[in-house]
């Protein structure tokens, strides 16, 4: 077998607690499908037949996915605060070959072969996917003013071809300057440094990286610890070759470190099966006397998507954006389901916009106009309601005469008559009184607010 796929669905969604306090992140509906459906659909389209899903027990119970693949659920309990690398370590006995790790919040239409081909062709240690971010245009409920919270930027350095990953650092780890080792510049004199790239959290890793993780228990997160470590390791020689101080204690420490060095996990299968053999005339660089690939054993590659959809739904703004773009994606995938579900009862078909999605068993009253919105299943929307640019989840009741704009309304909420809601987030099971007026607010239950 060539690859095993692992989907990380145990995360909490720490950057959008308003939504995820009531609904676990993998189950958040996007285009009326649970968020977890999208990475699984990506894997199914690529041709995978088995996937390992790491999740929590309560999520597994509530999941109801129609997929032809065999899903192997591994449950980790909630109290163990496990990072993504910890989860991989947890299932290391199931991992027999190279592994493709996905996060549950990835919605993309990338051709997987682009990322995987880099991994195969260059016999890479790591191959990942990135996309240029663009300014979000949607108004996010609950945002005070125009200032967005400053996200820590990532600095990504790639070589001339744009495929080899040379440098990765997060602004949080740097003081004032960007420090680039001389050895990197000696081997790759031309490096393009890019900010504004979003990491899609899709990694192809070699098996020996998982073995390395098993031994090295200090690494707990893939994205923030393992990946930068691998990128740095490309240009540092194995610790055994480094000069050491003549000190017995230090020697012992070095021995321990040497066994934790990733180079000791790389097995040289076949000296003749090198990724670019000696007698081939290909070289990845020119202008110096060094051998192809500088004889480096650890190689990291990245595929930067130029066009196409790629979203990681980990903030409220991205959740809303993803919901906007998902009808296009579903059309591209050729899913034949009509946007308006067959069992939905809509009195005035003409008042429903062409790009709105309406779920099953939803009842929509007369003179109700729905534009650019996504409405879940089993909702009851009475007459004379105006819904524009909203995301309404399942089993929501909206009484007559309401006007909703740009809002997110979670499961089981009830909005009484005459309410006027604009750019709000209404949490699950909330009940808004009649003729309520809310602009740019987040209304969640008090018990949910207690969870931090």
């Amino acid at each position: 077998m060539e690859f095993q796929a692992v989907v990380m669905a145990a995360g909490g969604g720490s950057r959008m607690t308003d939504l995820t306090s009531s609904i676990p992140k993998p189950l958040l509906p996007v285009g009326n499908r649970p968020l977890l459906w999208y990475p699984l659909n990506l894997l199914e389209r690529a041709g995978f037949e088995e996937v390992i899903v790491i999740t929590r027990k309560e999520i597994q119970k509530m999941l109801n996915l129609d997929t032809k693949m065999k899903l192997d659920f591994v449950c980790i309990s909630d109290n163990m605060d496990m990072g993504t690398a910890d989860s991989l370590r947890h299932i290391h006995q199931k991992i027999k070959t190279d592994v493709l790790v996905l996060s549950c919040d990835l919605i993309t239409d990338v051709d997987l072969y682009e990322v995987v081909d880099l991994f195969r062709t260059h016999d890479a240690t790591l191959s990942m996917l990135m996309k240029k971010t663009h300014e979000p245009t949607e108004v996010v409920p609950g945002q005070k003013g125009k200032k967005k919270p400053v996200e820590q930027r990532d600095f990504i350095g790639v070589d001339d071809t744009g495929k080899r990953l040379l440098f990765m650092a997060n602004e949080a780890d740097l003081d004032e300057e960007l420090v680039i080792k001389r050895s990197i510049l000696q081997k790759h004199p031309r490096m393009h440094i890019r900010t504004g790239l979003m990491d899609a959290h899709l990694y192809c890793l070699k098996k020996y990286v998982v073995d390395f993780l098993v031994e090295n228990r200090t690494i707990s997160s893939l994205r923030s610890e393992l990946i930068p470590h691998l990128v740095r390791k490309q240009f540092s020689s194995p610790t055994s070759l480094q000069q050491g101080v003549d000190n017995k204690e230090e020697d012992q420490k070095k021995k321990e470190q040497a066994s934790l060095d990733i180079y000791s996990f790389i097995k040289e299968d076949n000296s003749l099966l090198k990724p670019a053999p000696d007698n081939s005339c290909w070289n990845d660089h020119r202008g110096d006397m060094n051998e192809t690939l500088h004889e480096g054993k650890v190689r990291c590659y990245v595929h930067i998507m130029k066009e196409g959809l790629c979203y990681r739904v980990n903030t409220l703004g991205l959740y809303i954006e993803a919901n906007r773009q998902v009808p296009k994606l579903l059309l591209q995938l050729g899913l034949e389901e009509p946007l308006v579900h067959g069992s939905a009862q809509i009195t005035d078909r003409g008042m429903v916009g062409s790009d709105s999605i309406i779920g099953s068993s939803t009842q929509v009253g007369e003179k109700t106009s729905i534009k650019h919105s996504i409405i879940g299943s089993m909702c009851t929307i009475k007459d004379k309601v105006k819904i524009i640019n909203c995301i309404i989840m399942n089993s929501v009741t909206i009484e007559e005469g309401c006007c909703l704009q740009g809002s997110v309304i979670c499961h089981n909420a009830v909005i009484e008559k005459g309410a006027d809601i604009k750019d709000c987030l209404i949490g699950s099971d909330q009940r808004l009184e009649t003729k309520a007026k809310h602009v740019n607010e987040v209304i969640v239950g008090t018990e949910q607010l207690m969870e931090i």
Partner: protein, 524 residues
């Protein structure tokens, strides 16, 4: 007639042994076989009128067991069939009796296989008589598919074959120059893996990786490709396990075919790879049935290792030593492109420290392989000059000999090598500079080519588009209807331009190549 029926029944098995590819062209000769059938029946009637019933069926039927045997080696047994049937009437019953015994034995064997291959039905008996020509055999050479791209029938056959093997078909890219419209032209940006599932189940992952490395140009050069291919085959054999009720010698060859088709789709096979595959297939089908699976696999891996060691690695060393004799003191040697053999020869010669020589490296676009040669030679301390191919007539007056590598040596002595080699040979001839070609014998090929058009390889035409200061002059070539880009990979140098071929069998003139081929065939 009962006697006719039994061999007829045995023949589906016989026909099944014919490789699937051969059946297709012969199906089109339905009329011929009908004629032959009628002729035979007429002959039988005549003989039954003349003499006893014993004689006619036996001359008729013993020839039929020989026909299935003729199925595998097509020409020679068929030739034996002809004179043997002529000898039958005077020879009498003794020969007929021997033949009957032989026939009985073969029928017993084939009855077993017939049970398995019963579904072949009527097409197979039709296939059988076809292979026993009543007239002297005319071995019709089939054109390989890869030079028949403009023939829709051949392409349909290829598509069907690939579909059967579950290998995706790679689409051609861009408009081709008319003279080369019979060859495939692929784009590097559309790899074959686009149409395959991830993870690959039909094709072994190591083969997928190899195919990708071939198509992206990471493994380049005749020797490198062949060595990588043999290593991957070793891995395939390691991971292979015989299914129940199958024989390893037959099943393994069938299992290798989709992988070979896949590699062919990624990049057309080189002559060295073709010879290695033929060798391997022969070795597998000659495995004795008595071996256990583990022993058989070990034996195969040992034979592959032996082939690698003898035909490639030791041959390179032998060539290096022979060529050293030809390098004199204060020589100026001209090399072209990047040949692993020539590089090794020069590095070894320099290391021996008896001769002082310098090298002129000639390079050409779009591959610019000479840069890699330059790096390897300068690293060893050899004094090098680097020029592009348009400068050879300026450099040649000071060059004392030209050392070239080869992709393949054809049966008429022509040298098939990187495009530009024939130019260098031609200009060198006009300057009276001796041209030496280094080539191992495993690259000798039974094809005959007098020009570079018939069988060649078209590389990605986008390689010719060069980006200078952010602008690509040829960038919109696809929209311009009168513009075609041609990126040839190989060319053929006629034998009279080459002075000496240095092989592991010694230093031979170009005209001795068919002798070497004949000797090789006899050996095998």
């Amino acid at each position: 007639m009962a006697e006719r029926a039994a061999p007829g029944g045995a023949n589906p098995a016989a026909a099944a042994l014919v490789p699937a590819g051969q059946q297709a062209p012969e199906l089109s000769r339905e009329e011929k076989l009908q004629l032959r059938k009628e002729k035979k029946q007429q002959k039988k009637k005549k003989r039954s009128e003349k003499g006893p019933a014993a004689e006619p069926p036996e001359p008729g039927t013993p020839s039929e067991p020989e026909q299935p045997r003729a199925a595998r080696p097509a020409a020679p047994p068929a030739a034996a069939d002809g004179p043997s049937s002529a000898e039958k009437p005077p020879g009498g019953k003794s020969k007929a009796e021997l033949r009957a015994e032989r026939r009985a034995k073969q029928e017993a064997e084939r009855a077993q296989k017939q049970a398995k291959r019963a579904e072949l039905g009527q097409a197979a008996p039709a296939a059988k008589p076809r292979l026993s020509p009543a007239e002297p055999q005319s071995v019709v050479k089939r054109l390989p598919e890869h030079v028949q791209v403009d023939d829709p029938a051949a392409q349909r056959k290829l598509a069907k074959k690939l579909e059967r093997q579950q290998v995706p078909l790679r689409q051609d890219y861009g408009t081709k120059v008319n003279l080369f419209s019979h060859l495939h032209q692929y784009s590097r940006k559309k790899p074959l893996t686009q149409q395959m599932s991830i993870p690959s189940v039909v094709i072994h992952p190591a083969v997928v990786r190899l195919g990708l490395q071939y198509s992206q140009g990471i493994i380049n050069g005749s020797n490198a490709r062949c060595i990588a291919l043999l290593e991957v085959f070793k891995q395939l054999i390691r991971d292979y396990s015989t299914p129940p009720n199958e024989e390893l010698s037959r099943d393994l060859v069938a299992k290798l075919k989709p992988h070979i088709s896949f590699l062919n789709q990624c990049r057309p096979l080189s002559a060295s790879m073709g010879n290695a595959i033929k060798f391997l297939k022969k070795e597998i089908s000659c495995l004795p049935d008595t071996l256990r699976e583990e022993e058989a696999k070990e034996k195969l891996q040992d034979t592959i290792d032996k082939y690698l060691r003898e035909k490639i690695l030791l041959a390179a060393e032998a060539i290096s030593r022979s060529a050293f004799e030809k390098i004199n003191d204060n020589d100026v040697i001209l090399v072209y492109g990047c040949s692993s053999l020539v590089n090794r020869t020069l590095c070894d010669a320099h290391a021996k420290q008896g001769r002082a020589f310098r090298v002129v490296v000639v390079d050409s676009r779009p591959r610019l392989e000479g840069r890699e040669t330059l790096r390897r030679l300068v690293r060893r301390g050899i004094h090098c000059t680097y020029v592009m191919i348009n400068a050879i007539s300026y450099v040649l007056p000071e060059v004392s000999k030209v050392l070239l590598g080869a992709h393949a040596l054809l049966a008429n002595g022509s040298v098939m090598s990187r495009v530009g080699t024939s130019q260098i040979a031609l200009v060198s001839k006009s300057y009276n500079v001796p041209v030496l070609v280094c080539c191992e014998t495993y690259k000798f090929c039974e094809r005959v080519q007098t020009d570079s058009f018939v069988s060649n390889e078209l590389d990605d035409p986008d390689d010719l588009v060069v980006l200078r200061k952010g602008q690509a002059q040829l960038g919109g070539w696809a929209e311009n209807k009168s513009l075609r880009l041609l990126n040839l990979v190989y060319d053929v140098t006629p034998p009279d331009l080459v002075d000496l071929v240095i092989t592991d069998l010694g230093m031979i003139p170009c005209t001795s190549v068919p002798v070497v081929l004949r000797v090789k065939n006899v050996d095998q």
